[in-house]
C-alpha cells in the first residue's frame, strides 16, 4: 500500500510532462505475481524510482506484469513493441521469460535490458541476442565465488538442492558447470517445490550421501526450509546459499539455524561493511535510500537490477538522442550502439563494461562472499 504514493507521483509526473519535450518510452515487464514474484515485486517497486527525465528527454515507463508466465511475457512484449512502440524494454524477471521474448526483440530491433541471471540470453552472442543487455550478475559469477570458497575450505564432495522452477533449474545448471571445472564431486542432487511444506525426504537423502557441503538453489523465503531441515536432522557440514537468499526474510525465518551460512551476493547486502574501495558502494547506497524513502523498508538485491537498467539508460539515452529522434528505428539502433560501448559505469551492484561480445558487463567486483553471524549479514574477507 505504501507504493500508492510513489505510483501516483509517477502518474502525475508523466501526465505533467508536456508533449513539447522529446519523450522516450520504456516498457517494463516484471513478474510481480506468480512463482517468481519474490523477485518481480521488488523490481516492480523499483520502477517508480527510475529517472523520469534524462537530459532534455522525458522518460515514460509503461509497466506490465507477466504473472511469471513466458507466454504472457511474449504478449506483453508484443504490445510494447507494436502498440506502444517503445524505445527499450526493461525486464522480464525470469530467465525463461527473457528467452521466450528474444525473437520478438530481435525482429523489432529494440533494446532489452534483462535483469536475469542466466547467461543464455547473451551467450553465445548472435544477431538475435545483440539487442539484449544483462543487468544482473551472471549466475556463474555467483557460482565461481561460492566454489572458490568451497575449494579454500577443503570441500571435496557437495550436494545440491533447488526448487523445481526456472530459478532452481538455472542455479543447478550454473553450479554443475563450475564444480565440473573445479573437480568437486556432486554426490546428491535434489529438487523441491517452492510451496512444499516439507523437504524431509530430500534432506535425508542428502544426509545419507554425507557431502562436505550443500548448496541451496532457491530464492526468497523458500531458501530457508531445506537449510533448517538439514540442520534439524543433524547435518554438520557447511551450507551455502546463492544470492537468492539475500533477503531479510532469510535471516528472520531462519533464525539461529542459518548461522554460519555462506552466500555469494552483491556488495549491496553488506553496504555498511564494505570499504569505500568497493566501487559500487555509493551507487548501492543511493538505491537503498531511494527505495527506503518510498517503501519504508530496505530493498533486497533483486530490484537493484532494474535500478541499474535505469542507470544504463541515463548514460546512453543522451548519446542516442543526439543522433536520432526517440521513437525511430535510428534512435533504437543508436541506443544499442551506445549501450555496447558503456565503460566503467558504476551500478548499485557492480561496474559495467560492455563490449560487442560481452553484454553482461559485470566483473568479479560485483560479487562478495557473505556469511550469517549473530543474525546479520557479515562480509567475509
Amino acid at each position: 500500500m505504501h507504493n500508492l504514493k510513489a505510483l501516483a507521483a509517477v502518474a502525475v509526473l508523466t501526465a505533467l510532462a508536456g508533449p513539447a519535450m522529446a519523450q522516450v518510452k520504456i516498457g517494463v515487464i516484471a513478474s510481480s505475481t506468480g512463482p517468481i514474484s519474490v523477485v518481480g515485486l521488488q523490481q516492480k517497486n523499483t520502477v517508480a524510482l527510475l529517472p523520469k527525465k534524462i537530459g532534455d528527454v522525458t522518460v515514460d515507463y509503461i509497466y506490465m506484469d507477466d504473472n511469471s508466465d513466458p507466454t504472457q511475457a511474449t504478449k506483453n512484449v508484443q504490445k510494447f513493441l507494436i502498440e506502444d512502440k517503445v524505445d527499450a524494454i526493461i525486464g522480464p524477471s525470469g530467465s525463461p521469460n527473457a528467452v521466450a521474448v528474444l525473437p520478438f526483440i530481435a525482429d523489432a530491433q529494440t533494446v532489452m535490458l534483462a535483469p536475469v541471471g542466466s547467461t543464455a540470453v547473451v551467450l553465445p552472442m548472435d544477431d538475435k541476442k545483440k539487442w539484449v543487455f544483462k543487468t544482473t550478475q551472471n549466475d556463474n559469477l555467483v557460482m565461481d565465488a561460492l566454489v572458490a570458497h568451497m575449494k579454500t575450505n577443503g570441500v571435496k564432495t557437495v550436494a545440491f538442492i533447488g526448487t523445481n522452477d526456472p530459478l532452481g533449474a538455472n542455479f543447478a545448471k550454473a553450479f554443475k558447470a563450475v564444480i565440473d571445472k573445479e573437480g568437486i564431486k556432486l554426490v546428491a542432487e535434489e529438487t523441491f517445490g517452492r510451496s512444499d511444506t516439507s523437504v524431509a525426504g530430500q534432506a535425508l537423502k542428502i544426509l545419507s550421501a554425507s557431502p562436505d557441503a550443500v548448496l541451496v538453489g532457491a530464492a526468497g523465503a523458500t531458501t530457508v526450509l531445506p537449510e533448517v531441515t538439514l540442520v534439524d536432522q543433524g547435518y554438520k557440514g557447511k551450507i551455502y546459499q546463492t544470492h537468492g537468499a539475500a533477503t531479510p526474510e532469510f535471516l528472520k525465518l531462519g533464525g539461529k539455524k542459518v548461522e554460519g551460512t555462506v552466500l555469494a551476493a552483491s556488495p549491496m547486502l553488506v553496504q555498511s561493511q564494505i570499504g569505500d574501495d568497493v566501487p559500487s558502494k555509493a551507487s548501492g547506497q543511493a538505491y537503498i535510500d531511494a527505495y527506503t524513502k518510498v517503501y519504508n523498508v530496505a530493498p533486497g538485491t533483486f530490484g537493484a537490477n532494474v535500478w541499474d537498467a535505469g542507470l544504463l539508460l541515463e548514460r546512453t539515452v543522451p548519446i542516442a538522442a543526439a543522433k536520432a529522434k526517440p521513437g525511430t528505428p535510428e534512435f533504437r539502433a543508436a541506443l544499442r550502439d551506445a549501450l555496447e560501448n558503456v565503460k566503467e559505469l558504476t551500478g548499485a551492484q557492480g561496474v559495467y563494461n560492455m563490449t560487442p561480445a560481452d553484454h553482461s558487463g559485470f566483473d568479479k567486483r560485483s560479487i562478495v562472499t557473505i556469511t550469517v553471524k549473530d543474525g546479520a549479514w557479515q562480509l567475509l574477507k
Binding site: L4, L7, A8, A11, S32, T33, S37, G40, K44, Y63, M64, D65, N67, S68, P70, T71, T74, K75, Q78, K79, L81, I82, E83, S95, P96, V99, A100, L102, P103, S118, A120, N164, D165, P166, G168, A169, N170, K173, E190, F192, G193, R194, S195, D196, T197, S198, V199, A200, G201, Q202, L204, K205, G220, A221, T222, V224, L225, Q233, E249, L253
Partner: protein, 954 residues
C-alpha cells in the same frame, strides 16, 4: 535405506498427511452438504497461518479489514436481493442478525490486535477471523448458485481461488512467513526424533475427525446437514434450510482450514499460495474416500502424505509424478469395485428457457438474420488483418489457439459431461513432440504434425481407457492427476529442456517461405478454427454426435438404445485431445519457445474456465469464452494501472470477481444467454420427409414363438430378496402385462430382463439364447424398452431423441459425420424417426425440444424411440401413467397394432382398466414372487390376487 531412514520418512509422511487429512475432511463436509468442490480450501490454511504470523510481528493483519468488507458485502447483497419483498428497516435488521457473530469477531479481533496478546490468544484470534469469513463467503459467492450444476460450482470455486490467492499476495506480500513454535519439544522414538508439534497436529486431527463423525451421526444438527446432503428438496420440505446448512458447513471448513494453518505455521515456510497444493492433496484424499466418508478420506490423505515422503527421498525430481501416477490405479480399483453401470447423479440442473413460439415467417426471417450475422462474422474474421494492428492480431491468435482447445472441451465436458483438467497437458504433448523432433532431427514441421497427432492419439487413447471407465468424481480427479503428471514430466525430462525451456524450434515453412508474422499465422489459426467449428457442428448433428450428446443423460438410457457409451466416451476424449495437440503443434512453431508453464494444470483449469464462461455446451461458447478470458486478461493487464493507479496484482482479483458475478447471473454461460436474449436460439430447419429409403429391418419371429423365457430368476440386494424364483414367457404377437402392488419387484424384474441388473440366480433367455445381461447387446438384438422414470435428453428435439432409438441400425463414422458424408444415411435415420413419431401421434411436436413436452407425451416419445430400434420385444414400464383418456385409447390402439405386427410386448401398468382390456396374459407379482398367471378373466377371478389387492397395501 535403513530402518531409521524409513521411520524418519514415515514420521514426515504422517506429519504432512494429517494436514492433508484435515483438509480432506473439510472438503468432504462441504461437498456432501453443498455439492461444492471447494478448490480454495487450502487458502483458508494460508490465510489462517499468515494472519497468525502477521500478528506475531505486531501488525494488524489485512484479513481483519477483509472480514469487515465481507460483512458489508453480505449486508448489501441481502438488501439488494430482498429490496421489493420487505420493508428496508426490517430487512436491514434481519441481515444484521445473520452477520452478528461475524461482527462480534471483527470487533474483538480489532481490539485484540491493539495489544500484544499471548501467543495462544493470537492463534485463537487468527482462527476466529478466518472462521467467521467462511459463512460470509458462502452467502456471497455460493448461495445465489444453490441450484447450479456441480461443474458450474467447481468453476466458481476456481474463480474464488484466483481471487483469494490474488488477495493473499496483496495482503501478505510475496515473501514467506514462519511462526514461533507452539510446542517446542522433541523426544526420540526408536532413534527418530519426534517433534511435539507433529503429535499436536496428529492429536488435533483425530479429535476433529472424531467430532465430525460423531456430529454427523448423533446430533440433531449433524443429522439435519446429512439430510440436506442426501436430498435437498426433501430437506427443504422438512423445513431444513439449505442455505443454513451451507453456511454451517462453510463455518466448519473455514475453521478446519485456519486451524491447520496455525498448526503448521511453526513447522514450515508459509507463502501466500502455499494453500493451493495443500488443498489439492486434501482434495485427492477426499476423493479417495469417495467424497463421503470422513475416516476413509483421512486415510486416503494420509496415504498421499506417505507416498510423497518416500518418493521425495527416492526421486525428488519425479516426486509429484510418482504420487499422482499411483493415484490412477487406486481410482481404477475404486471404480471396478462399484457396479458396472453407475449413474451419475448430476444432470446439470439449469433448465432451458422455453422455446419462443415463432410463426413460420418470423422464424424464416430470424434464420436469415442469423445466417447473415454468421456471414458477417466470417467476413469480419477475414478482414481483420487489414483493419487491426499486428499486436491485436497476435492477441486474436492466442484467442484462436485457446478456442481450438476449448472446442474440444465443449464436446468433452459440455456435451458429453466428462470434466477434464488435462487438456493443457495434451496441448503440451503436441507442442513438445513437434518441438523436440523438429529441433533435434531437423524434420519439417509438416512431418511432425502427423507425428504429434499420432502420439497424442495414442496417449489420449491410453488416458481415455482409464478415464472412460471412471465415473462421478473419479473422472475429474483422474484427469487432474494426468495433468499434474504431464506437467512435472515436461519440467523434469531432459528432452524438454525442463524449466529453462526449449529453444531453436524451426518456423513453419510453406514452399520455402517461413510463416513468421502474426498475420500469416492468423490466417492459418482462424482458418483452422472456423473449419473445426464447422466440423464440430456437423458432428453434433449426426448419429455419432447424438450418441455423445446422450452420455450426459445417463449411461443406462444410452446403452439401452444400443449406444456403445464406452466408445462414445473414448471418441469424445480422443477428439478433444487431438484438437488440443493440434493447438500445441501450432503453438510450438508460432512461439518457437516452449517451457512447462503454458501446459500446467492451472492452465488446464483455465481452459475449463473458458468453456464454462462461454457456455460449456455450445460451439459458439468455445470462441466466446476463449475470447473473453484472453482479451479481458490482457485488457486488465494493460489498463488496470491506469484505472487504479496501482499495478499488477489486482488483475486476477477483478477477473475472478467478475467471473463469479457473471456465473451467478448466467450459469449457462455467456453465449447461450446471448442467443436467448436476442431470440437467436432457433430450432434447426429439418427436412420433414418420411419419403426415405427404409432402414434395414431384422427378421421377426413367427407369431406365437417364444421370444423371452425367464427361468427361476432371483435377485438379492444384500439381505433383501427383490425377486424370488420367477419364471415367465413372452411370445411374439402377444401382450403380457405385469401387475402387482408397489414394491412387488416388477421394476427389478424389468432390470433383469433388460440387462441393467444381472440375476443372482436363474436365467433369462432372449430369442433362444441366454441373455448377455448387457443392455446394449440386448437392445441391438431387438429388445426395446421405456423407463418408469422418463429418460430422455430434454435439450434435444423430439425428432433427435427418436432417431437415437435407431442408432444401432446403421453405422456412420465420426469422420464421415464431421465431413457431412453421412447425409444419405442421416436422411434415412430421420425419416425412420419421423415415421415412428407419426405412429405414436407426436409428429406435430417433432422439432420441439423433448423437455418441453408434457410428462405423458414424454412417455409416448420413449415408445416411439423404442420402436425406432425395430424391436421384436418391447418392454413398457407404466406407459399409460400421466396420459389422458383419449391418449390412453390411442396408446391401446398402437399396442394392438404392434401385436398384430408380431412384436412381443410386456407392459408394467397400474391402470387396471387399461391392462384388462389390452393384455392377452397377465402375471401378478407380490413380495418379489409370482403370485398368479393367466388371462385377464382368470386373474380377475383368482382368489389369491383378490386377496393381495383387496387385503394388501393398496
Amino acid at each position: 535405506m535403513n530402518l531409521v531412514v524409513a521411520l524418519f520418512l514415515a514420521q514426515d509422511g504422517i506429519a504432512n498427511g494429517v494436514v492433508y487429512a484435515l483438509l480432506a475432511v473439510a472438503i468432504v463436509v462441504l461437498f456432501s452438504v453443498t455439492r461444492i468442490t471447494f478448490v480454495p480450501q487450502g487458502e483458508f490454511v494460508s490465510y489462517g497461518a499468515l494472519t497468525f504470523v502477521t500478528m506475531q510481528d505486531g501488525q494488524r493483519p489485512g484479513t481483519i479489514p477483509l472480514l469487515g468488507l465481507l460483512i458489508a458485502l453480505h449486508v448489501v447483497l441481502d438488501l439488494v436481493g430482498g429490496w421489493r419483498k420487505q420493508r428496508p428497516a426490517a430487512l436491514l435488521m434481519s441481515s444484521l442478525r445473520s452477520v452478528a457473530a461475524a461482527l462480534i469477531v471483527l470487533a474483538l479481533a480489532y481490539a485484540g490486535t491493539s495489544f500484544d496478546l499471548p501467543l495462544l490468544l493470537k492463534a485463537v484470534v487468527a482462527i476466529a477471523v478466518v472462521t467467521a469469513a467462511g459463512p460470509l463467503l458462502y452467502r456471497i459467492v455460493y448461495q445465489p448458485l444453490a441450484d447450479a450444476s456441480v461443474l458450474v460450482l467447481l468453476i466458481v470455486s476456481v474463480a474464488l481461488h484466483f481471487v483469494m490467492t490474488g488477495l493473499a499476495l496483496y495482503i501478505f506480500g510475496p515473501s514467506g512467513q514462519r511462526s514461533a513454535p507452539l510446542l517446542d519439544i522433541t523426544f526420540p522414538v526408536m532413534g527418530v526424533p519426534i517433534a511435539g508439534q507433529t503429535l499436536l497436529i496428529l492429536g488435533v486431527t483425530l479429535v476433529v475427525i472424531a467430532a465430525l463423525y460423531f456430529a454427523s451421526q448423533h446430533t440433531l444438527y449433524g443429522k439435519a446437514m446429512q439430510a440436506v446432503a442426501l436430498n435437498r428438496t426433501g430437506a427443504r420440505l422438512m423445513g431444513i434450510s439449505t442455505s443454513l446448512a451451507g453456511r454451517a458447513s462453510f463455518l466448519v471448513a473455514a475453521f478446519i482450514g485456519a486451524l491447520a494453518g496455525v498448526l503448521i505455521s511453526p513447522t514450515t515456510t508459509i507463502l501466500y499460495d502455499t494453500g493451493f497444493l495443500l488443498g489439492l492433496k486434501g482434495f485427492v484424499g477426499a476423493i479417495l474416500g469417495g467424497l463421503a466418508s470422513y475416516p476413509i478420506s483421512a486415510l486416503g490423505a494420509l496415504l498421499i502424505g506417505l507416498l510423497e515422503s518416500y518418493s521425495s527421498f527416492f526421486a525428488s525430481t519425479y516426486k509429484e509424478v510418482i504420487v499422482f501416477s499411483l493415484i490412477i490405479p487406486i481410482l481404477l480399483v475404486q471404480t471396478l469395485r462399484q457396479h458396472r453401470i453407475k449413474e451419475d447423479d448430476d444432470h446439470g440442473a439449469e433448465a432451458l428457457p422455453a422455446q419462443p413460439n415463432w410463426s413460420p415467417q418470423a422464424l424464416q426471417l430470424r434464420r436469415r438474420i442469423k445466417t447473415g450475422l454468421g456471414i458477417a462474422f466470417v467476413l469480419a474474421v477475414a478482414a481483420a488483418p487489414v483493419l487491426i494492428s499486428d499486436y491485436e492480431i497476435a492477441l486474436l491468435n492466442y484467442v484462436g489457439l485457446a478456442a481450438i482447445v476449448v472446442l474440444g472441451l465443449v464436446l468433452l465436458t459440455g456435451v458429453a459431461g466428462l470434466t477434464s483438467f488435462a487438456q493443457a497437458a495434451y496441448v503440451g504433448i503436441g507442442a513438445y513432440i513437434t518441438g523436440y523432433v523438429s529441433s533435434t532431427y531437423g524434420l519439417s514441421p509438416w512431418f511432425t504434425l502427423p507425428m504429434a497427432l499420432a502420439v497424442a492419439f495414442v496417449l489420449a487413447l491410453f488416458g481415455s481407457l482409464i478415464t472412460a471407465r471412471l465415473s462421478g468424481h473419479y473422472l475429474p480427479l483422474a484427469t487432474l492427476s494426468l495433468a499434474v503428471v504431464a506437467y512435472y514430466l515436461f519440467a523434469a525430462l531432459p528432452q524438454t529442456g525442463g524449466q529453462a525451456g526449449m529453444t531453436n524450434i524451426p518456423p513453419l515453412t510453406i514452399a520455402g517461405w517461413a510463416v513468421h508474422s502474426p498475420k500469416a499465422w492468423y490466417i492459418g489459426i482462424w482458418g483452422a478454427l472456423l473449419l473445426l467449428q464447422l466440423a464440430m457442428t456437423n458432428l453434433l448433428d449426426s448419429r455419432p454426435g447424438r450418441a455423445i450428446r446422450a452420455l450426459k443423460s445417463g449411461t443406462i438410457m444410452a446403452e439401452s438404445l444400443g449406444v456403445d457409451t464406452w466408445k462414445a466416451k473414448i471418441a469424445a476424449f480422443v477428439i478433444a485431445c487431438l484438437l488440443a495437440a493440434l493447438a500445441g503443434w501450432i503453438y510450438a512453431h508460432y512461439q518457437r519457445f516452449l517451457n512447462p508453464s503454458p501446459f500446467s494444470f492451472n492452465q488446464g483449469i483455465e481452459y475449463l474456465f473458458m468453456a464454462v464462461i462461454g457456455g460449456a455446451g455450445s460451439i459458439g461458447g468455445a470462441l466466446v469464452g476463449s475470447g473473453i478470458v484472453v482479451l479481458a486478461n490482457q485488457w486488465l493487464q494493460t489498463n488496470l494501472p491506469l484505472l487504479l493507479g496501482m499495478q499488477g496484482d489486482f488483475q486476477v482479483i477483478i477477473f475472478g470477481v467478475v467471473a463469479m458475478a457473471m456465473l451467478q447471473l448466467l450459469p449457462r454461460g455467456i453465449w447461450p444467454a446471448l442467443l436467448d436474449l436476442t431470440g437467436m436460439r432457433l430450432p434447426k430447419a429439418w427436412s420433414m420427409s418420411t419419403d426415405t429409403a427404409p432402414l434395414p429391418a431384422r427378421g421377426k419371429p413367427q407369431p406365437g414363438e417364444t421370444v423371452l423365457a425367464v427361468r427361476g430368476v432371483s435377485k438379492n440386494f444384500g439381505a433383501i430378496a427383490a425377486n424370488r424364483d420367477i419364471s415367465l414367457d413372452a411370445k411374439a404377437g402377444e401382450i403380457l402385462a405385469l401387475i402387482g402392488p408397489n414394491g412387488a419387484g416388477k421394476s427389478t424384474l424389468f432390470d433383469l430382463i433388460s440387462g441393467v441388473q444381472r440375476p443372482s440366480s436363474g436365467t433369462v433367455h432372449f430369442l433362444g439364447h441366454e441373455s448377455s445381461y448387457f443392455p446394449r447387446t440386448l437392445s441391438r438384438g431387438g429388445m426395446g424398452r421405456t423407463f418408469q422414470h422418463v429418460r430422455i435428453i430434454p435439450e434435444m428435439t423430439v425428432l433427435e431423441n427418436t432417431a437415437l432409438g435407431a442408432h444401432a441400425r446403421v453405422d456412420t463414422s465420426f469422420a464421415s459425420a464431421a465431413l457431412r458424408l453421412d447425409r444419405p444415411t442421416e436422411a434415412r435415420l430421420i425419416g425412420e424417426a419421423l415415421r415412428q413419431l407419426g405412429r405414436v401421434g407426436l409428429e406435430g411436436s417433432a422439432t420441439q425440444t423433448a423437455g418441453s413436452l408434457s410428462l405423458g407425451q414424454q412417455r409416448v416419445l420413449e415408445i416411439a424411440r423404442a420402436l425406432a430400434s425395430d424391436p421384436c420385444l418391447l418392454l413398457l414400464d407404466e406407459p399409460a401413467a400421466g396420459l389422458r383418456h383419449l391418449e390412453k385409447q390411442a396408446l391401446a390402439r398402437l399396442l394392438k397394432q404392434l401385436k398384430a405386427e408380431g412384436i412381443a410386448v410386456i407392459v408394467v401398468e397400474h391402470d387396471m382398466d387399461f391392462v384388462m382390456n389390452l393384455a392377452d396374459r397377465i402375471v401378478v407379482m407380490q413380495f418379489g414372487q409370482k403370485l398368479a398367471e393367466g388371462t385377464p378373466c382368470e386373474i380377475q377371478r383368482n382368489p389369491a390376487v383378490i386377496e393381495a389387492y383387496l387385503g394388501g397395501a393398496e
